[in-house]
Every structure is written in C-alpha cells, then in structure tokens.
Symmetry: C2
Subunit: 365 residues, 2 copies
DNA sequence: CAATTATATAAAATCGTTTCAATAAACTCA
DNA sequence: TGAGTTTATTGAAACGATTTTATATAATTG
C-alpha cells in the first residue's frame, strides 16, 4: 500500500465502469450510448451501469470515441470579423440551434485576412468538423477558396452570399424585397428627393438591393437622380465602413443637391451618414430622414434610433444549422444530400430616424 | 480490379505514407512531428517522407493523435454574451495570440444563462481542452461555478474579475486608476458639478471605479453630491444596460439638480445617458460633458464620439493567453505553476463628448 | 580490437472507445 | 420436441496515431 498507488488513477475508463458494475465494457458502452442494441438490455442492468458510471464520475474520452465512431459533434463556424455587429446576432442564432442539438461550434475569426481564413479552414478540416457554416462578407468574393471546400465532402452552408455551387448550401435574406420596402417607406412618408449611399459594387447584396430600389422607382415613377447617388469603395476601411460612409456623405453634401432622405447600404453606413449630416448641421430626422439595412443590435441605440430593414439574423443562423444538420444525418445514413438555397424575408423596422418629409425643402446643406 | 476497390480509399493513414515512402510508420511519425528522435534521421529520409506525405495529401487523424499524446492544441474560451462589444475586442486579442501559438480556440457563448455556462463548461472539459479562458461579467458573481473549475486541473484564467483563488489566474484592468484619470479629466476641464451613473453594486469593477473617484475627490477636495449619484440595478436588462442607464439618467434629471458633466460606469451606460440627455434637450457636450469607460469599438462612432477610458482589451486577451500557455507548458513538463494576477493600466481617450465647462451653468434640465 | 556510443529503423504496445461476431439462454410455434 | 427467434451479454478486433523497446549497423573510444 505505501509503495504502490503513489500516483492516484486520474482517468477512469469504460473498463473501470465495467468492473465496478460487473458487466463488460461492451455492455457499458451500449447502455451509456443508448445504442440500438440497448433495447435488449433489461432495465436493472442499465440502472446498475449508470449508477456505477456516476459513482466513478466517468466521462468518456472523446478522442477515443471520435476515433472509433468518426463523429465528434462539432461544427466549424467561420466569420471574417467578430467585431462586426452583423455577425454577432447570426452567431447567436447558430449557437442556439447547435446547442439544442448538442453540437459544439468551433468558431474562427479570420480578422478579414484571407490567409487566416485559409489556415483556419485547414485547421477545422483537420479537426474533422462534421459540417461548416461560413458567414460571408466582402472578402469572400474570391471563390477559389471554395474549391477546397467542395472537395472536402462535409456539409457546408454560407450565410449572406448566394452561390451557384452544386454542393454548397446558402442562406440569404431577400435583399431586393427589403430595399424595395425601405424605399416604399420613405416614399410613403412623402420623400421624393432621396439620396443613396450604395454598397460596394462587388457585393452581390449591394446589387440586389439596388435592384429593389430600381424596381420600386419603376413601379411608382420615382426619379433616381444620379447626382444623389454615391458608392462605397470596394475595399472597406477597418471600421466597418463607417468612415467611408462618412466621407461619401460629405461628398454628397458638397454637391449641393437638395435631398430630404437618405437611404444607406446598411446600418453602419447609415451611422456614418448620420454623423456626417449632423456635423454639417443637418438635423436627423427633422431635415433629413435616414434609413439603414440589417438592424444590427446597436441600431436601436443610435441617436436618433435608426429606422432600418431587419434581417432575421437569428433565424438565418438557425436555418443554416438546420441545413447542415440535415446534411450530417444524410451523410450518416449514406443518403444523397442536395445543397439548398434558402432566402428569408426581411422586415421594416420604423424608428426615430425617419419621419414625414417637410413641405418646404429645408435641405441644401 | 473491377470487383475490388469499389469504394475508393477516402482516408489515408500514416501507414499509407509509410508504404509510399518505403519507411515504417514509426519513422514517418517521428519525421512528421519533428520528434526528438528526428535528429538521428538523415535529411534524405526526411525529405522522402515529407514528399510522400504531401503527395498523398496526408492529414494526421487528430483523434488518434490526441488519444495517444493527450494533447489537442485547443483551449476553451467562454463568454457570457458575444453580443457585448466589450467582449469582441478581447476575443480578438485572445484569438490573435492563440493563432500565433497554433492553438484553436473553442468559443462558447453562455447567452447570459447560468445553466448554459455550466453545460458548456462541462462540454469543454469533456473535450479535454488544454486550458480555459473566461471572460467575466456580472453573471460570474456566484463563485460556486469555480469549484468545478478548481478541481479540473487545467490552467484557467478569468478576464475582468479578480479572484482570491489560489489556482485560477486573472487579468484585470486598473479600474481605480482609470476612474481617477477620468474624473481628473473632467475636473481639468473645469467641471465641478458632476453626476455619476455608477455600475451595479455587485460588480467588483464598479466598486473599484468608485474608489478611484473617491480618491480623486479626496485628493482635490471635490464635492461628491449624493443627489447627483445614481446606481444601475444589479440585474441588467438585455440591452447591455443601455436602457437602464437611460432610465437612471432620466431619474437624475428629474431631481433638478444642476450638473455640467456626467461620468458613466461604462460606454454603454454613457450611451444610454447621452440618449436621455439628448431627449431631454440637453446638448452633449455643449451643456453637459459625458465620459465613459472601456472604449468599446463603437464608442468612437457615437454622436458625439465618446471620451472614455480605454481598457487595453487586445492586450488583456493576449496576457490571458500568455498565462495559460505558460500553464500548459508547465503542466507538460510537470513543473509547478502558480496562478498569476495581472493588472493592466488603462488610458484616457479624449473625444468629442467632453469639453470645457461653460462659465454659466446652462444646465438645470 | 573489444567495448561503447551514436545513428537509423522497425515491431509491438498503448491510448479508450465502438462495433463485429459469437455465444448462450429463454421464448415462440408448428 | 426441436428449429428458429428473441433476449442478454461478451471477447476480440478495429480506429490511427504515438511511444516504448528492440535491433542492426556504423562510428568512436580506451
């Protein structure tokens, strides 16, 4: 006794449980995993085993488990910038659904660096994640990344970007409809001279939103004055484009072309625009209404709070999880699984930053 | 040929590499891991093996690897609310340092639910993360969580909360000094009637910051009018306390007690306060200066941009990672490792929301 | 020149599970 | 009754690496 057992047994294995309960490791495994064969095992046996496991504080070694069963209940989640408030709510949705399904997300943040993205992708694949969820942003424009993805056979879904790919699913919001509704909102408030800060041209969502705007203009005969339109650069600056929006709005004001409302590419753009307007002495919303897109968590906290088009971000996250979960079980059962493209509706959220147009055009900068 | 190989070999193992290169699995392992024994292996052998591995696209099975070596290069990172902008920058720091060390963070978000936190803690321990980094917030007040932690022998560090624990490290900011500096800033601008929206009493940082304020008041003879002091409730509402701050500031204004500056517990509190002030017709900073704490990413984007005390969040994340990395290598080498408590300095960031006090006290709500 | 020591490789043991294949008893049912 | 299921349990074989131990040759030493 004094000699042996100098170091107490720190890890207890399934065999310990077997010994304690008086059954074999096999039976213990079957019971504890509630494997198909478990239905042949009488309850008393089950309880005995469970009790033994609890008594010893048994935790199965997940590596051994995964090694054998080739499953690890982990999915990779890749974002380009956790700092981006647009991400966080989607992450919430993802995390929530995953949690319910007892999956653990493995989150990586690429810091807007392509190389990091690639490295992380590799790391995740090495770790044999069972599926992959990617939150797209402008960086994902280059599609060559996806080559790697396609050949890795795991279920993959991209949120925020539509793909032609046969093997990669996607979840997007109805950008066109959302933009249409936003413009309709401004129009309904009596605004006719409306300025636009469009998103980077390279972005699909940018194009889609503009399409919605054009559609509305066409439907109602609204005039889209090219002198009231500016574009964000393709290469956004660090601060999520707020700075860029600020500059572009200043540019807009410099043109001395009256407008009573401004529609921004997204909430952060709207924030930048509001800062520029305020700085220039234009009161929001008294002299100029502003509308955004996304409904980022802080949009409601802006001063004034921002009218915007809400993307159902949590729902998008949840949808993505559902897709990959389907994909995973399809894979497990050796069924075929076709990529799905899901488009979710957006919703207008009126707040303080928009109001009825004043009769007098108070606005000339 | 037509019969066999119906299903192509999808996973290639170390033995395949061994065969391809003409050496044994052992040698391959030694070479590919650059194990100590690798110094006895001549370069031509090494290159041959490496070439073979690359040719076959060999990726070691991480489960087998971890099962044997008991290491997995993963650390658990636990936050209570990813949505909280305070978190994201720290996460950045953590992620960055971890990335450099080739560790993969396993991030969990407790959604401010204790039960989730516990469940995730369990999941992480089951996955045998090599260390744990926890971003504290008010929810971590109850310490019983830590019991589990202490007995799990892995290196653990808590960011944002000081602990008496012998086995858990912590990284905090100098709250007292920061608050002192903030108040000094206001004082230097000529403010004498200063209102305070203090943080929840239960929070240690709240206490520390107040201590700094008291210290400054004592040092300079500044009067702290109790009628200009309000406290955030212990149980914060979902929106990060902005709503609460809004309400408390309204309360403050209702008291009809003049003040020319307001010092908030943190940036989000400051935001709520600014909203309330603006709503009440008090201009910031013309009629009332506002100062926050943290320097959350969006603080610079508020209108007006917020003067605040910066927590070196990325540095804090990095510090935490350094600590656990030390802990890990200590563990690997069977050395003793003592918990460390690290306190980082804060830094005043003057922006638009504070300015010199007007001679006339323009402020009575 | 025998005895070490360093170099180079491999066979076998091990990590802790799950799963396959086998066994034996207890039930059906014609 | 005996052939066929169903029920209850298990030993042994994976899973794919790393690590330990062993072996064979070459180089160095006393």
């Amino acid at each position: 006794m004094p000699y042996s057992k100098r170091r107490e047994k720190t890890t207890i294995t399934i065999r310990d449980v077997a010994e304690e309960s008086g059954f074999s490791a096999t039976t213990v495994s079957i019971v504890l995993n509630n494997a198909p064969l478990a239905r042949y095992i009488p309850s008393p046996t089950k309880t005995k085993i469970q009790k033994a496991a609890k008594k010893l504080g048994y935790h199965p070694n997940i590596f051994a488990k995964s090694l054998r069963s080739k499953r690890n209940h982990t999915v990779g989640v890749m974002v380009f910038d956790v700092t981006d408030p647009y991400c966080t709510l989607i992450l919430r949705g993802i995390e929530n659904s995953l949690y319910q399904a007892s999956y653990l997300p493995m989150l990586t943040d690429a810091h807007n660096e392509r190389s990091r993205f690639e490295r992380y992708l590799e790391m995740l694949l090495e770790r044999r994640v069972e599926a992959l969820i990617i939150l797209a942003n402008w960086l994902l424009i280059d599609i060559n990344l996806l080559a790697d993805l396609e050949k890795s056979e795991i279920p993959t879904v991209i949120i925020g970007r539509e793909l032609e790919s046969k093997s990669i699913s996607s979840v997007i919001v109805d950008d066109e409809g959302g933009a249409y509704a936003a413009l309709a909102h401004l129009h309904g408030l009596g605004h006719r001279k409306i300025a636009f800060v469009r998103g980077p041209k390279a972005l699909m969502s940018s194009k889609k939103r503009w399409k919605g705007i054009q559609k509305f203009a066409q439907d109602t005969g609204l005039d889209l004055d090219p002198r009231l339109i500016v574009d964000l650069p393709d290469q956004l600056s660090p601060n999520l484009g707020v700075e860029d929006a600020y500059r572009m709005t200043e540019e807009l004001l410099k043109r001395k072309r009256a407008f009573t409302a401004l529609m921004a590419y997204d909430d952060m753009t709207a924030l930048g625009a509001m800062r520029a307007l305020t700085k220039a002495g234009v009161k929001v919303p008294e002299q100029c209404s502003v509308i955004g897109f996304d409904d980022v968590a802080t949009a409601a906290l802006f001063v004034p709070s921002l009218t915007t088009v809400r993307q159902p971000m949590e729902a998008m996250g949840a949808a993505a999880v559902n897709i990959i979960l389907d994909g995973i079980s399809a894979g497990a059962e050796n069924r075929e699984f076709a990529a799905v493209q899901k488009k979710l509706p957006s919703e207008l959220v009126p707040r303080e930053s928009t109001r009825a147009a004043a009769e007098t055009k108070a606005q000339t900068a």
